[in-house]
Each structure stands twice: as structure tokens, then as C-alpha cells.
Amino acid sequence: MHPILSREVLAPDVVRLWVEAPTIARKRRPGQFVIVRISDAGERIPLTIADADPDIGAIALVVQGVGKTTRMLNAMEAGEALLDVVGPLGRPTRIEPKQRVCCIGGGIGAAVVYPLARGFKAADGHVTAIVGARTRALVILEHEIRHVSDRCVVSTDDGTYGRPGLVTDALRALIDAGAAFDEVVAVGPLPMMRAVCEVTRPIGLRTTVSLNPIMVDGTGMCGGCRVTVNGEPKFVCVDGPEFDGHRVDFAELAARLTAFREQEIEAAARYQPAAATAR
């Protein structure tokens, strides 16, 4: 069992949980994730390790409620516990020293970008961060990310906070103003990552994306997380989650994410009444 040590709301439907997992807290590197299961009837779902504190033996998970399992997680309080937490999974981010990187986090993607930005910074890199969200209330981890970056741009689609527009607009503006990057790292909803890749492709700017296919085991055993990269099949849980965005078949991945749409809606609908009584 993995007790939840603390819970804080970062935005509507987005919480940060600190969860006891001493070994993982010690071993994890930026870019890695865990798979968790809440209860015996529960699904295994992948979540990025957003932060870790080896001294207290805990990892931070930032969870956005999108379906049954993530909503159940979001509703859990400090003192409750997760049944299973396995990891750290996936390959750590390749962090070369002294990189000039632009780390782009869209929505919940900011939670993934934060440890990366910190990693690049720790390796003497020059870090530009772009934190984007649909609207002001959904901007998360701005303070933390600002703290580990040399330059930080916040943007909202509706212009309620920071720079108005999409993260790609912010990126384009930076590039037009002469910012030089060795690499762009983009994490967020698929359409966002795809759009970033279309900005960087024409100028040949290396772009790394973190993919989020449906997973089961996370050890390379089931093949459910396969994506096509550069025309070849890759298993995201062991070969990724990060890939060269210019070579990812995003359309295929987007379709595969809808594989269980009907069942997800059914599960979420059945969850609602229970959640209402629990509150």
C-alpha cells in the first residue's frame, strides 16, 4: 500500500498528490513514469513522476480527472492509500549538458515538463519555458517552473492570463525574435504536440515529445502502447515515452486513444452517482 501524504488542488479537476514510494523516489530520473492501481477492481493507469523527495520517500503525481480512474484518484484524500505503484518506468529523458532548450508544457503537460526543465537546468543548460493553458484557472505549476528556468512565458488561449494565444504562437514569437534553441521539448495534449512539431519541422529544430498511449503492463509485454515512429513500431512504455516528434505518426496515436471510448463513457457514467454520495 502506498499512502497519500498530501493532496492539493492545482486547478479545477487537477490535483497534486504526494504518495509514499521510497524506492521509486530514490531511483526515478526526469521523464519517467509509474503505473498505479487504486483498488483490486481498478485499472492500471500510467502517470508521470512529477517530482520526488528521496528523504521523505515520496513521489508527486499530478492528476487530471478525465475518466473514472483519474477522477477517483482526484477525489482521494491524504491518509488514503493506492494499492499498487510500480516504477520508475520508461527511459529517462536524455539530458545533455549545457543545452539551450525550450520546454513547452500545455495544460497538465506542465507537470511533466517541470522535472525536465529542472533536469536541464541542473545540467547547466539554458532553459526557456512556455507554460500554456486554455484559461487562467488551468495554468499549473507556473511558480515552480519559473523557478527552474531562465526565461518563462505563460500563455492562455483566451488571453485571461499572460500572453494571449496558443503555445505555438509563443514559440514562434520567440524564434522570430532570434531565440536560439538546440532542442524543443513539448508535452501536452496530442494536437498541441503535433502543432509544435509543425512549427519546428521547417527549421529543422529537434523536437522531443512525450507520448501517452493507452497502457496495460508498462513492461513491454502487451504491445498495447505501440506507436509508429519513423515508420517502425515502437512500444512507448519501454522505448519511450519520449520520441523525436518529427517522426511520430500522431494521427494513428490519436485514433488508438479512442479504442475504448464507449467503455470509458460507460465506466465514467457509472462512477458519477457513487462520487456524488461520497462527497
Partner: protein, 472 residues
Amino acid sequence: MAKKIGKKTRTPMPCEDAATRRRTFGEVALGYPVDLAVEEAVRCIECKNQPCIDGCPVEVDIPRFVQQVAVRDFEGAFRTLSEKNVLPAICGRVCPQEEQCEAKCTLGVRFEPVAIGRLERFVADWAASTGLTNTSNGHPPTGRKVAVVGSGPSGLTVAADLARLGHEVTVFEALHKPGGVLMYGIPEFRLPKAIVEREIGALEALGVEIKVNHVIGRTFTIDELFVELGFDAVFIGTGAGLPHFPNIPGINLIGVYSANEYLTRSNLMKAYRFPEVDTPVVRGRRVAVIGGGNTAMDAVRTALRLGAERAYLVYRRSRSEMPARKEEIEHAEEEGVGIVLLTAPVEIIGDERRRVKQMRCIRMELGEPDASGRRRPLPKPGSEFLLDVDTVVFAVGQGANPLIRSTTPDLHTNQWGYIVADPETGATEKRGVFAGGDIVTGGATVISAMGAGRRAARAIDQYLSSPLPDGY
């Protein structure tokens, strides 16, 4: 002195009838009741050479336990069995007995061999029903620590044998439940998970500690097991869990699964009980499973139980080359599986939402034998046809998972990624590291993995009791 030959044919085992069972996950074969078990055991003629024992990779003393059943000493029979086999209720159900112990039975030369597997199952189930369990032989603790990676049949056997010798054993398992293929692969209707849990529980009673949710190569590397956690030896039994997909268009459409994913969702995650549990599996109406082995049989029979109107098994050679157990093929056909022989998929076709709609197939004919000795299937030009399906499951073999290989540079692997280990001892080229089961041989059987575990346990015990070389 061998006794006289009695009944020439074996006692049939009761089965759930095909019409009832094809839609439920309840166990198909029901096992012998006491009287039928005794009736079958009496058939053993106690022949002098006892060739049956050579047919069993873990060397169960078959004549002895069968005799004990014949005289209704079931407790004795259980003790005899469990001396050599830590998972008897499992082996009695899934061992390919017809190719192992029973293939060697003297009675089988002219008549039907003794139904050794069924008797083994009977004894194990009888013991469980009376609460009898395996006990340690009380070896004093040696103070030596062994890590076992993977909790499939090979790992469980190593663990049990070493624990009985007084070593402190910890099993690390990547998934949230131990058992390997027994838990995530072989379906409930052939091997109830309660039985797997029961036999693993008996191992824990021997003092074996099982740590689930530990992926070696990630949570700890092999080297860290020695250096950080202080283990004296490591056994790797991680199985052949990497699914293969053929190189044809359409394999990433929605509705295309590896057998591993399909079966894991259904067995380990119990998706057949969705929405009572949270993990979904697509309930295909028309399902094609590609392959001809046990895995393919399990997948296609699972499809029926998940409600498929049509379930096809598509295999590229002819029936006589099918690697699945004969009994399983028969069961599948009785349940209504359509077996499409000498046929291979060439393309999977999707609709505008990228969901599987059809599979283009081609007829094959058999040419000259290939390296495996089986006749090579060759496509017949112009014989392509379309099969209407919404789900395709590939059960076309497995490879070696790269996680441990890629994080343990000094571990030798062959061209397919399998670990190179001495077949007699399981010793690898890396000091203190042993390996066995499917990760060494490629996909094989439960009992061969257990045999490898047994031999490795012996070698590890020897390794641990020999004095350390200088400077170590």
C-alpha cells in the same frame, strides 16, 4: 514384479458440456471424483523400468504416487508428488502430458497410457480440499540471500527449492500479481486463478517472500540486487513476454491486439467482468485469432466467452502441424471455433475511424520442410479472399523482453535476445547469475520451465556452499 494389465482404455474425465461452457469462464475439465481416480490408478502395471519418470522434467515419482492413489492413500500420494513438484494442481491441468510422462508410459505402447496428469490434478485438488499443504523440510537457515526475478513457473520452482534448503529467497515480480503466464496468460476456464493463488500461497508458507510491482532493469538493475540489496545470487526467469506482430499493413488499427494484451486484459485484469471492474476489453462480434499454438487456442476460446458471434482460428499450416495440445484443439472445435487452415493474413483493413473491418487473407500450400522440420507454408498466388472481422488477435510467437538485457551489459544473450545459460545448471557468464525457463529457451512449457528451475536451484545451492574465491 509387474502386475497384470487391466482396463485397456483410460477412464474419461468429466467435462462441462460445450454448449454451456462456451459462454462462461468456469473451468472446462472437471477432474476425477475419488472413485474414478482410483479406477484409473489401478491401471498402472508398476512396470519395472518406470519410463514415465524420465518423461517428467521434474522427476515426479509417478509409479509411487499412482500406487498410493490406487490404495486410497491420498495423503501419501500428495507427499510423494509435492516432494518433486511445487505446483501439482497447475501441472496436472496444463502439462502437455501426452508428450511427456504419458508418452513414455509402458501401457501406452499397446493401449492407452495411464492418465498421469489427471491423477496428479486429482491428488492436488484433494489435498487442497482437506487443507493439506506442502511443508518445509526444516533445513536450518544458511544466511545466504537469493533474488529470483520473475514469478512464473521457473522462478517459483527455484524459490521453493532454495527456501527448503534454508536460503532466504525474495521473488521480484513486475506485475501486481505473481504467477507469470499462469496468472496473466492461461485463462480461467483452463486454469482457475484461485488455484494458482493457492499454490503460490503454499510457497509463501515455505518462507519465500514475493515482492510484486518490482520491475528489474528499472526499479533495481541486476547489479543493484547484488551491490545495493546484498543478494548472493540471482536467478532470472522473466519468460518470453515480448509479443510479435507480423509485418503487414493495418496492425495498428483499433481492434488489433497481441494475444498477450487480449489475455492480460481478460485474465489478470478480469476485463470479462467489465464494468464491475474498470479495465475494458473490446467484445468483438467477429474475431480472428492468428496462430496455432496454446496461446492462440486460449485467445480464440476467450473471444467466444466474451460474446463473439464468430470466432475463427487462422493458421498457415495444416492441422497436423498445429503446436497446440490436441485436447485444446478438440475443446475449441466443440465450442464452435471455426478453424481456417492453410491461410495467412496479408492485410488488415479499417474503416474511416480506423477500426478493423476486414482481413485480407491468402491460401497457403505446404512446400519443403524448413529449419524446424515442419513443411514450409507458401502462398498460393491469386487465392486472396476477405474475411469480415472486427477484432484480430495475433498469437504468432513471442520474443525476449529487452529490459534486463539492456541494463545488464555483461549478460550474454544470443541473436534473438535470449539469455545464454548452461542447460544443466542455468549458470550464465555473469558471476552469481543464473537463468532458466522461456527467457533461455524461448516459449516452451510450464513443466520445462520448472525443470530448468529445479536444475538451477541445485546449482545455486552448490554455488552458495562453495567457498568464495580470493578477492571476492
